[in-house]
Amino acid sequence: MGFKRKHLIGLEDATPEEIETYLNTAESFKSIFDRKIKKVPALRGRTVINLFFENSTRTRTSFELAAKRLSADVINFSVSTSSVSKGETLIDTAKTIEALESDMIVVRHSCSGVPLLLTKTLKSGIVNAGDGMHEHPTQGLLDLFTIREKKKKIKGLKIVMVGDIAHSRVARSNIYGMTKMGADLTLVAPPTLLPKDIENLGVKVDHDLRKAVKGADVVYMLRIQLERQKRNLFPSIREFSTLYGMDEDKLKLANKDAIVMHPGPMNRGVEISSEVADSEQSVICEQVTNGIAVRMAVLYLLAGGETNEIASLSGQGN
């Protein structure tokens, strides 16, 4: 079976086999990270454009490094204002970018749906680097990779994901990824931060963190945007932190070897205490490193696009 995908828009329609392939390939790429020459020629001569409509130094840098370690040429293109203010449509902007003759476009946008819209008008492969509140599939994959690396499996693990589920693309991609890989996932948040009918995605929902975290293998904390308080989604930072923040006390209720994850950037002392963030159980820094390997795998696997077939690895393949 070949890897037939040309675009990565989300994990909603990914199969468990595909996810497995991304993770296995990422493992191969990770093995080059402790070499002096951290680079392979796999995508030599290809052009990858990082088209960022929304600022994100972290994600952009991770994709840039991933593309460079695959020997692709990388261009960073930041569009700071929305196209509305320029008298140009989104499609106009995207076509202008593609005229630079790119093979793949990595897109980040504060509005949901932009990567999918671009697949309909552009010829390049599109990788979603986060769109609005929709999906952030490479974050989902790197989180799965980190869990598998630490726990040697994903199936059957008890995972609790805590915080602002409603506005989080990271949460959505992880919900799809974790449930597809057979994890037992519980979302913990106040009802105001849970989107409508989220249980339909095959997850449990709880509002009591102390109860939910008992026996957890993985504790995933989401970033809370502090300005949400102004819309009455929670009464105060203090109350949110008390009820839904992860501290040493609550973490003790989880399994002893539970790992703590966070997609960054953290609000120390709000959703996660410094003691927890800096503890041995925290794998937050590994998540960042794994992000590069996972993004290399994504770029590499999508590069063959629709014509992909699997190379025979016996020496006589060529």
Binding site: I32, A42, Q316
Partner: protein
């Protein structure tokens, strides 16, 4: 139509001869290391190292290299089951013997040389292959050849190894 050109015994003898040639060509066995190209090249490398130890008493380091990401045909063929490269020793200053099952176009060897040079800076690189079937597209030759078998483009050389395939044999189809 398939033709068996080597069985378990034949393979054993050929590997023994190759081990002798390796010892003969390299004065200082402490400076050499075997690196097999995945998959099967790494298995052949381990067998040769075992023979060398039987004959000379010396343990030669063995590594495995994955050349998937060094191929020149990404886009035509994408491997979705790449395995990690596994070379646990430093190759700097060593005489490296690259081990592959079949030498055909020479492109895998080229990729393997690139992959090796990204890991370190060996003193020399030699090439050992079990079968040389001709049709090279690059100026690459093997220093050690188990058997020369002239083939046509249409033919497929199939190598089976006990560790992977449950039997030792080489056939042409």
């Amino acid at each position: 139509m398939s033709k068996k050109i080597m069985d378990k015994d034949g393979l054993g003898k050929t590997l023994a001869r190759l081990a002798h040639e390796v010892i003969e060509k390299n004065d200082n066995l402490d400076e050499i290391a075997l690196v097999g190209i995945r998959s099967r090249g790494d298995l052949i490398a381990m067998r040769i190292a075992a023979r060398v130890k039987e004959i000379s008493g010396k343990s030669i380091p063995v590594g495995a290299i994955d050349i998937t990401f060094y191929r020149d045909d990404v886009g035509l063929k994408i491997a979705k089951d790449a395995q990690p490269t596994d070379v646990k020793f430093s190759i700097d200053g060593k005489n490296i013997i690259l081990v592959d099952d079949v030498l055909y176009t020479g492109r895998s060897t080229r990729a393997a040389i690139d992959a090796l040079l990204d890991i370190g800076r060996p003193k020399t690189i030699q090439l050992l292959v079990l079968i040389d079937r001709g049709h090279k597209q690059l100026p690459i030759h093997a220093d050690y050849v188990g058997k020369n078998i002239p083939t046509s483009f249409k033919e497929i050389v199939e190598i089976k190894m006990q560790e992977m395939d449950g039997e030792d044999s080489i056939t042409i189809t």
